[in-house]
Amino acid sequence: MSMRPGRRHFLRITGAIATAAMVGGPVEAQRRRGTMRELEAAVRATVGEGPIVEGRVTVEIPALVENGNAVPLTVRVESPMSADDHVRAIHVFSEKNPRPSIVSFHLGPRAGRAEISTRIRLVDTQTVVAVAETSDGRRWSGRTDVVVTLAACLEDA
């Protein structure tokens, strides 16, 4: 299989997830391969083709989320944030939401640190991926798996 190195790097992330999903049975594994492909398509639509290297990006979400309507999220990128070496943008993607794009942040050396917190919606237990673009034109990624609790009692049931 011949692929450009960067693409293979990113697929390795999704491949690892698909392997992990095998524990949940072949149907689940296939479904997750599908959702991860959609996620990757959204990443490509946002940052274009070219290498995306796993690393430097930390996606922080509590291990167990009590409600998917407001999930605390912190993304952090290792970067000196200097005039000639800084993070330009961070894009956050969901694997299973109806639309993969969650939020994009635009920053620069005047941020001082590449660390942003917000609150997002996640419809289900899934993987969240963040891709950072640095001033040298390179891309980095990080991800985390989140378990989202569904409300037990629905008000309008």
């Binding site: 969901s94 639309r99 994009s104 920053l107 005047r110 917190s117 917000t118």
Partner: protein, 107 residues
């Protein structure tokens, strides 16, 4: 409904210090994926863009999609450069636009 915001910017900072800014704005962030009681689709109504300017320069911005939670919250940082005004602007669907500002004293 009125738009309310909560903004936290340190009143004073040392030059070159990295300061944390937190902002919260009231907005339902209607996703467009929900249905009302009669089964009709509730149209999407979200904030699309947030910008933070420091003495006129954009130092941070965010593009929101429907997956940003209701009453959007952001915490980010900026380098204290000079005494001045930091402004915050949220712009979204149906003509939504809201501005806030805060002063910072840099020593």
């Amino acid at each position: 409904m009125r738009t309310r915001t909560l903004v936290k910017v340190p009143a004073t900072a040392r030059r070159g210090e990295v300061v944390e800014i937190k902002v919260l704005v009231s907005h339902p962030m209607e996703t467009g994926f929900r249905r009302d009681r009669t089964g009709g689709a509730i149209p999407v109504d979200i904030i699309r863009r947030f910008e933070c300017r420091y003495d006129g320069d954009t130092v941070f911005a965010a593009d929101f999609h429907p997956a940003v939670a209701a009453n959007p919250f952001l915490a980010f940082t900026t380098v204290a450069t000079t005494s001045g005004t930091i402004t915050f602007e949220w712009v979204g669907d149906n003509g939504f636009a809201h501005r806030e500002s805060a002063e910072i004293q840099v020593e």
